[in-house]
Symmetry: C2
Subunit: 123 residues, 2 copies
């Protein structure tokens, strides 16, 4: 990312204003609000470069496309709303080490909570 183009500016704005993990299609749709012409390719290319810059980091949600969020270098987990498919950050963690089976070497872990988000519960 060596140039500040309107497209990348808008893609970054989208992350700042949504403040939650987004998948490529969500990014594209949100970017289109401010930008008449954006292509998927640009979104994917911007994601790739923003990850290299450590501005974004991928969020793996079981059974879903990859989501991306601001890379704030802190350990946390996620909540996936089964109703609107939005992903939210979850603070805190719990020790999972004791679950590791004998003979296996644990390097990392992910905890994904699923259910309904406040907005969907209100409906």
């Amino acid at each position: 990312m060596e140039r500040n183009t309107r497209q990348r500016e808008v893609i970054k704005q989208v992350f700042e204003s949504e403040a939650r993990p987004l998948n490529p299609l969500e990014i594209l749709d949100l970017a289109k609000v401010s930008l008449s012409r954006v292509s998927v390719a640009t979104v994917y290319r911007a994601i790739k470069e923003l990850i290299e810059e450590k501005w974004l980091t991928p969020v793996k949600i079981s059974g879903q496309p990859l989501y991306y969020e601001r890379d704030r270098h802190h350990h946390h987990h996620h909540f996936y709303c089964e109703s609107c498919c939005k992903v939210f950050e979850v603070e805190g963690c719990i020790p999972v080490k004791k679950l590791t089976p004998k003979g296996f070497s644990l390097e990392s872990h992910d905890i994904l909570l699923s259910g309904r988000c406040p907005a969907c519960l209100k409906q």
Copy 2:
């Protein structure tokens, strides 16, 4: 699944003998050992029907294709080997409820441990 075809017999055998979650490609490759002609389509169709019969259940591993395992109706989690990409069952669980943010309704959770399996550690 109204008929017992050689293909489906072999696909079920593969799950019994491997005793771990498998993805469609793994199933196909393992089935080809016993069967000269098997197509991906058959594997996918068999998976779909075995899920309806509750003989299989999907295992969602973030950022990976769907895996499937015998549906034994018991709560457990998984270990993903970053080296060989094999998935293993992990017994036990830990309470995650307290992580749920205020206003959200928790319906389920997944814990994925990642690292190296015994076979890969030996190499």
